[in-house]
Symmetry: C2
Subunit: 908 residues, 2 copies
């Protein structure tokens, strides 16, 4: 993108200074024709992208088939001249061709050894939908015989000729391709040919004649035998294509000035099938699977590209060439090195050898696997070819995602029975189970399990914990199952509508062909299945898996990133195990520890429930007293795992009804019990009294903490007792206490007073523990009144999940299944805002809160702890907005470290 015109820069939103009249910048004295060896990359404006790149390679001394470019100046002249080529152009082209004839020792239109050309359009900005390439221009009824003799392959020569006529007829005379295809189809029917490669030379000549006739009948034009007329018509057609409706629409859309015009690149053809001193091949400068620094590729002697594609002959590995064509091989080795240096990346090179002479037809950056991408980037840095910054910029996040999760060994035959959404990456095998309790039971009995259900809810969290992965038939990329699984780094396939779950009979099935039940595949509880969360595949049976690799190269790359990024990267972790994992992945602390997850384990849930059901203060306090040492133990473990690093603990957030069974379940239990079940009745009454129409906007977070202060008081006691215990062991703890769902400064004030009082009680008045108290900013009102709130807060942690829900007014649980995917499909929204942070709306609130908050409290620490903390585009926003940190699932920490560095490199 280096040589874009200022107008284009404007069009894509870069700020530039005032731009000169775009017409003026094309007034130059560049001549109408530029040979490849005369041009360079800086002349893109006149040579177009293709012409400039061929010139640059030629200039670097690489053996590119010679050719020249008719510049964009000529295109402008063509239009000023009433769609006529300028007068002197064709003589100039003749002269240029003369020069190519000398270089190639061939002649254009020669009947024995004809020089052929490719003719291509070449706009300055890449414009898909413009005119195609015309190959083999220069073939006619006479020269085709020459090509046939030279290649000793009449079938090949006539095939080239009929292809040329088709391209020419289409591009120059405007005959639609379908007419050519119909004639070919008839021919094959007539002779019983199955495939194109079966067609004999004689049949091709028959087709050629019918092509010519058809063109004549359709357009009145006669296919020209004069090669210069062929050339002139082709050049004119390219220029005309600049103003075809598609091209005009495209230019309008991308604000490409009409005055830019197109160039025409005319390059001599080479052939690898003229004998045993010829050949063709493809070469990677490094191994694209492993990244190993060794030439990788294959070639065929005496062949054209088509032969390789058609699969008639098996190509040889590139190192075999060292024996067969040592001179060419050594030349290729040098060229590979040279092209890597020139393009500063692995190259994917196409080459042809024509009568012992090597030609490079094309080079481009090579596609590679995740593992190779990392190794190559780091190696290029070590070799001094690129800087660490450049290496980081090149890393694609999908590559990292692949690397950091277990994956299916790609060599296997898989019995894929269904496909859902690839909701959480990685792969896992286990026995299918159909509810959370069964998952726990089987896990305890030593089985690996996959939880399969219509959808999960917070009640099922113990089942998700017990499982290797989760499969749901409903719900989208941000459904409960997806979010929880991503948070835990477990594979998840969501919204897999092909499967029908019959929970009652403990199986699911996938309908057979035609949706018929008799042919369906049925999976019973206990059957092994495998999930591929990276692709959404559901596979029958077990599959061998590759463990994720934290290679030396990846570690190096992360070190590069750490040296560059400004954003700190913390992790969301709710237990000591996750905290340790996060630290291994390089987390600089815990940005969010959700205490409610500690309430969910099967040992604690009954205590939590009796706390909720308590009818008197004393009864409730009794349950809380039981929970206190459990919470304290959790906190001590997390503090120990994170010694010296900050640990941010969020007080209870969800509403109490999330800890109780569902009403439907209880009612069913009640109906089934013959006698009056007083316990169930009591539960039903409590669940009904806690029922909320919109639980998302109900009594939870600090609202609960203020109305029922005993719960927060217990949690605060557990935190400060844990701090005291760790201090007594000589550990350094950096605790932060986060109050959720604050919307008014008085809420924070109230809970902060409680925290300070509990701290003073437990640590003593003159303790030396530097604890922070702050709040989630997840309610729009909190962002808007951040100036007041910041006076009471040591930190703001933006809960972008809830903030997105409330700023858009979207319930995440409902939006995805209903209108959100439709909104993205219809382009009403550019992205799902739960995946990519909405900079315009939600981001605006974050910026308001940062601005107001920091003005009121310059020491304010700020970060994001929603799921967006693990999304690269959202991380870019966080960097731009000037946040101090992001916090994400432990498994996404490495990705976030790189993304944070990329954000700095591409924005600042």
């Amino acid at each position: 993108m280096e040589a874009q015109s200022p107008t284009i820069r404007n069009a894509i939103g870069w700020s530039t200074g005032p731009v000169a009249n775009p017409k003026e910048q094309f007034m130059t004295n560049v001549s109408s024709i530029v040979h490849f060896h005369e041009g360079h990359a800086g002349m893109k404006q006149w040579l177009g992208g293709k012409g400039a790149s061929l010139a640059e390679m030629t200039r670097a001394g690489l053996p590119v088939p010679p050719g020249f470019t008719v510049t964009t100046n000529v295109c402008r002249a063509f239009y000023e001249n009433g769609n006529q080529l300028p007068e002197g152009l064709m003589p100039d082209i003749r002269n240029a061709i003369l020069r190519i004839e000398q270089l190639k020792s061939q002649r254009f239109g020669d009947e024995r050894n004809p020089l052929l050309f490719s003719v291509r359009s070449g706009s300055v900005t890449s414009m898909p939908g413009m005119m195609d390439t015309i190959l083999n221009l220069g073939l006619n009824d006479a020269t085709v015989l020459g090509l046939s003799g030279e290649t000793k392959n009449a079938r090949f020569a006539f095939d080239c000729y009929r292809r040329f006529i088709q391209m020419f007829g289409n591009v120059v005379f405007g005959v639609e391709s379908i007419h050519f295809e119909l004639l070919l189809h008839k021919l094959k029917q007539k002779y019983g040919y199955q495939q194109d490669r079966d067609v004999a030379a004689e049949a091709w000549t028959e087709l050629i004649e019918s092509y010519k006739l058809m063109i004549k009948n359709h357009t009145g034009n006669v296919f020209p035998q004069d090669v210069y007329i062929q050339l002139q018509l082709a050049v004119e057609a390219v220029f005309r294509s600049w103003n075809n409706p598609r091209a005009i629409t495209y230019r309008n859309a991308y604000r490409i000035p009409d005055e830019q015009g197109t160039a025409v690149t005319i390059q001599s053809m080479v052939f690898g099938n003229k004998g045993d001193d010829c050949g063709t091949g493809v070469l990677f400068t490094r191994n694209p699977s492993t990244g190993e620094k060794k030439l990788y590729g294959e070639y065929l002697i005496n062949a054209q590209g088509e032969d390789v594609v058609a699969g008639i002959r098996t190509p040889l590995p590139i190192n075999e060439m060292n024996k067969e064509m040592p001179h060419i091989y050594s030349q290729l080795t040098d060229i590979a090195k040279q092209l890597e240096l020139l393009n500063k990346d692995v190259q994917d090179i196409e080459f042809t050898v024509e009568q012992n002479k090597l030609f490079i037809l094309q080079t481009r950056n090579g596609k590679r696997t995740a593992q190779a991408a990392i190794k190559i980037a780091v190696d290029l840095v070590d070799e001094g070819i690129i800087l660490a910054e450049e290496a980081l910029k090149r890393i694609e996040m999908e590559h990292l995602d692949q690397l950091l999760h277990r994956a299916i060994d790609s060599e296997q035959q898989l019995d894929t029975i269904a496909k859902g959404l690839n909701a959480s990456p990685g792969a896992a095998s286990g026995r299918a189970v159909f509810d959370a309790d069964t998952a726990v039971d089987w896990k305890l009995a030593g089985h690996k399990v996959i939880l399969v259900c219509a959808e999960t809810s917070p009640d099922d969290i113990h089942g998700v914990i017990a499982s290797e992965g989760v499969l749901t038939s409903r719900g989208g990329m941000t459904s409960h199952a997806a979010v929880v699984a991503r948070g835990m780094g477990k594979p998840c396939v969501c919204g897999c509508e092909e499967i029908r779950i019959d929970k009652m009979n403990r199986h699911f099935y996938v309908a057979g062909p035609g949706g018929l039940e008799e042919n369906c595949r049925k999976v019973h509880e206990g059957d092994w299945i495998t999930l591929d969360g990276s692709t959404g595949r559901v596979i029958l049976g077990t599959v061998s898996l590759k463990e994720p690799e934290m290679t030396g190269e990846l570690t190096r790359l992360l070190q590069f990133a750490d040296g560059i990024r400004r954003l700190k990267v913390l992790a969301n972790a709710d237990n000591p195990e996750d905290a340790r994992k996060a630290r291994q992945f390089g987390a600089e602390g815990i940005g969010l520890c959700r205490t409610e997850h500690m309430f969910m384990s099967s040992a604690r849930l009954p205590v939590v429930q009796s706390m909720i059901l308590a009818e008197h203060q004393a009864e409730r306090q009794h349950s809380l007293d039981q929970l206190l040492p459990m919470q304290q133990e959790d906190f001590e473990g997390i503090f120990a795992a994170m010694e010296g690093l900050p640990v941010n603990i969020r007080l209870l957030d969800p509403p109490l009804h999330e800890f109780l069974p569902k009403l439907e379940l209880l009612q069913q239990r009640q109906r089934e019990s013959a006698n009056k079940d007083e316990e169930t009745n009591k539960l039903i009454r409590k669940v009904q009294s806690l029922h909320e129409v919109n639980p998302m906007l109900g009594q939870r977070g600090c609202r609960l903490g203020i109305v029922v202060p005993e719960i927060y008081e217990m949690q605060l006691k557990a935190i400060f007792k844990a701090i005291l215990a760790c201090k007594e062991k000589g550990m350094k703890v950096r605790p932060e206490i986060m109050i959720p769902l604050v919307g008014h400064v008085n809420e924070l004030k109230r809970v902060r007073e409680l925290a300070d009082r509990v701290a003073a009680d437990i640590l003593g008045e003159d303790h030396h523990v530097d604890y922070k108290v702050g709040t989630m900013i997840e309610v729009p009102r909190a962002a808007l009144t951040a100036d007041q709130i910041a006076k009471e807060a040591d930190f703001f942690s933006f809960g972008t999940n809830d903030l997105t829900q409330m700023t858009f007014g979207y319930s995440r649980d409902d939006a995805e299944g209903k209108f959100l995917s439709s909104y993205v499909d219809q382009q009403i929204l550019p992205d799902n805002p739960f995946q990519v942070l909405d900079a315009e709306g939600v981001g605006q609130l974050i910026e308001i809160a940062l601005h107001k908050g920091r003005k009121a409290n310059p020491a304010l620490k700020t970060g994001v702890c929603g799921e967006h903390g693990g999304d690269p585009r959202s991380i870019r926003f966080c960097h731009s907005a000037g946040l101090d940190y992001i916090s994400c699932s432990p498994y996404r920490v490495p990705m976030a470290r790189i993304a944070a560095a990329q954000a700095l490199l591409t924005i600042d």
Copy 2:
């Protein structure tokens, strides 16, 4: 508040220029003593509030008992002098008293006809909790006999003396009142007196002696018999009280400068019980019940105020005085006129006649009923006493509320059985019914009904429509029932937890005393009850009601308001009847017509349901085709009622499941039906598929309109067909189409395109109907991106109900019953934000949206159509923010017109 010091002005938040050293402003040459006839209101700084007011009345020539004020300068000198009175003060006071003695022809300390004084503190700013008044100073063992002789009432004289000793002992010597009260209690026990008025003169003398002894024993001080020593000690005590802890705390809290000091007002006492040429009474300058311009009050010959209070004698109406004391009556008539002119309001005057001489003891603005308040305000304008602006400023909104609804005739005996929240004002009687369908059936059968249920939901709307009023046992001031009833102007008593509803057995009961069921009051279906929505009372039986009065005075007042206000006042109305009512109340158009209410009637609901249950596009279209003419008819009716005024129609807003029966109900139906009920099963499946976790944030509003565009298309067709029909009848229509729940500009763009297309189809391309298309701003994101949205919108209507829900993250249905009342009680929030618009948060979003929206589209019309449009404090905000209009329930339109004028008068 006219003469406040700049420092005070600062303290209450007024902006003032820089203030001089507060000490300096008290450096004046006002003398230490100022007689009432020497002072005026402008001297408040030196005379205190009381002193200045007495001076002003004296200055106006009114017969105020003579007296003088010791200025605040003396207080400052007292403190500078080490808590000693300045040397020359007591001689000055003696001179001042000499003058009073001359005026009153009495002597201070005289044993036959003693002159007595009241001594009061008098701070510049009113300071509750400062020292009390001392009355009857100058009584001692000798002068008490003089008073007894003069009044020929020994019991009265000694009662005055013992009261004086108590006040003096308390204020001067610091003896707590309880000690005096204990002695009185003992005395009454000793003689078997039931009440104070039973105590004989002899017993009072006994008490007086025990008081003196007790003071001596407690403090060592002897109660002084020397009247000048009494006076000196009283003045010193007043000055000391300036620095008592309560006063200091109060000054700190309200930032009253310590240097302000207090004055001491010393006024001669008068007695109305010295003979038949004496008397006492109370007088209103106009009738406080009706506002009639006629003296109103009562008096007693030869009596003191205590006699009236004690109820021993019955006072006479004031006009009787014209016979008994024609001279005094005529003087009072003049004074009443004079005081009204002076204070520019109805006066409540206390007076005493002492030996044929009239004294005015006090005057203040008189309390009055709602009806009187309106009449008086308008009359005062007509009489040229105040301007219309002032009349408007004085109107209290509660008064208007009372006037504009039916009310219980206050003279009746009522059988009130329970009390709930006064959720919607007005009163109504009807037969109790326990569900919405029964309400409709009974109404159709010609009965008046009151709907009684635990709570209402949108499913019950037809029942609310059919009822005279609604009584619920659950839910708060903003519960569904409350909101709907207020919107319809029907009385509603909510959250009446005392009643137990037994829907199954068709009755409710209120537990008897002690909560016992046997004594409970039971109300069966069909029994008459009456609701008083203004007080929350539930009354057994029917009650005679007063119709609301739109009096001539109220109409005049509204005309004043209309001439002043800048905010336009529109109404929310969903049918032609409400539209007509709104227009009668002065609405300048319809600001919100909720089309979903048109779907709820029993005739249409089945069609709506079959539209929702449709399985094919064609089936759905069939139902929509049936609905179209019904909607069109509604719109024609509303356009006709509002001819010439704007009518803003909101497209469908609620989610579809609100139109279907509740799941529980269906499941019950299914369980009860013996055979497989396929219809119910189908309904259950649909209800389940439409179920949302947080319906408030789900698929509704334009989200539904975009995903299922047929519904909006039908509504738009109905609107434009109605426009065409009205145009053909020669009517002038001003339609506005409102798109609900827009969060992203693309949503509005999409629906606007649809509207324009339908308009062109129906009206023809070159029609001349000036319709507007705009949006609710009710999602925070819409406010934040208002610059984009305004480009596609002709108007913004702030839906402050939903905007408050999303900005706070409060579900209205849940918050009120759970934490919100607790938040208001605990002062975490200043108000319920659903009642009073939250200016800091929600208001900030409105201001952001207005600023951005108007910048992008200067022609943008803006208003509020939430419930806040009917709340006076919220209307103040709307005025300040610069909105163009507010829209509220028809019944609140008059109130809103006045509030809009008040906002302008008190803000601009």
